[in-house]
Subunit: 146 residues, 2 copies
Amino acid sequence: MAEPLTATQQAHWRTFIESSWALHTRLEDELRAATGLSMNDYHVLVALAEAPGHRIRMGELASRLVFSPSRVTYQISSMVKRGLVRKESCPDDGRGQEAVLTDEGLTALRDAAPAHLETVRTSFIDHLDDEDLAVIGRVFAKIREV
Amino acid sequence: MAEPLTATQQAHWRTFIESSWALHTRLEDELRAATGLSMNDYHVLVALAEAPGHRIRMGELASRLVFSPSRVTYQISSMVKRGLVRKESCPDDGRGQEAVLTDEGLTALRDAAPAHLETVRTSFIDHLDDEDLAVIGRVFAKIREV
């Protein structure tokens, strides 16, 4: 059985998990209210907008966004229905599939970005100094590989 | 309009938001699979189990868990239906309501705790040293007050 957390570990853990959950909820609520997009939609749009040819293989997208295969399939199907993304066979591998950004998806991302940036700044970035942000970047890069 | 993030801020922010989202998803999925409880259920049970008399006013519970009033009402109604919590009028104020932990709720928490602790350790705590954890505790305490 796992060893109990120390009192200090428990205090920091609870602060983190409750406060980061509230942050995710706030980002999601404000993005949806302003644009109708979810945070998952937004992350997929950003990843595709930055990819060469605006296209990423489904498996690579899942690993980039730390999604399970079933979650990425569900997510992309929902975005295809809304015209933000289309699915195509990989040119170099008939069996694989890629998610491809549509013009509508790119427009949705460009329209959403300013308001989302404002939320990211006021709810998080503007309250951290460079050192704190670097620690958080390093820790969460490690956690993501677990 | 908000100033764009620097490249460094953007890299750390994305790592944090994607990795912490994956962590929340993993905690939620593993807790649900092992116990049927959501993370929100778990946090409410922990808060009530530690409160004097196993009871907390609804408004205080909302602010403790950084929930909106409508979210806490929905959450507690769902837990009342499952017998984990009951609602009672505040003894010192006929109009207010308290959430009260039931015996069933306390048993559910005690049954869930060991597996949840294991996930918390293997997916987060065991990968951080004391200093990193202290930075995260401090930053997220500040963020929560925003």
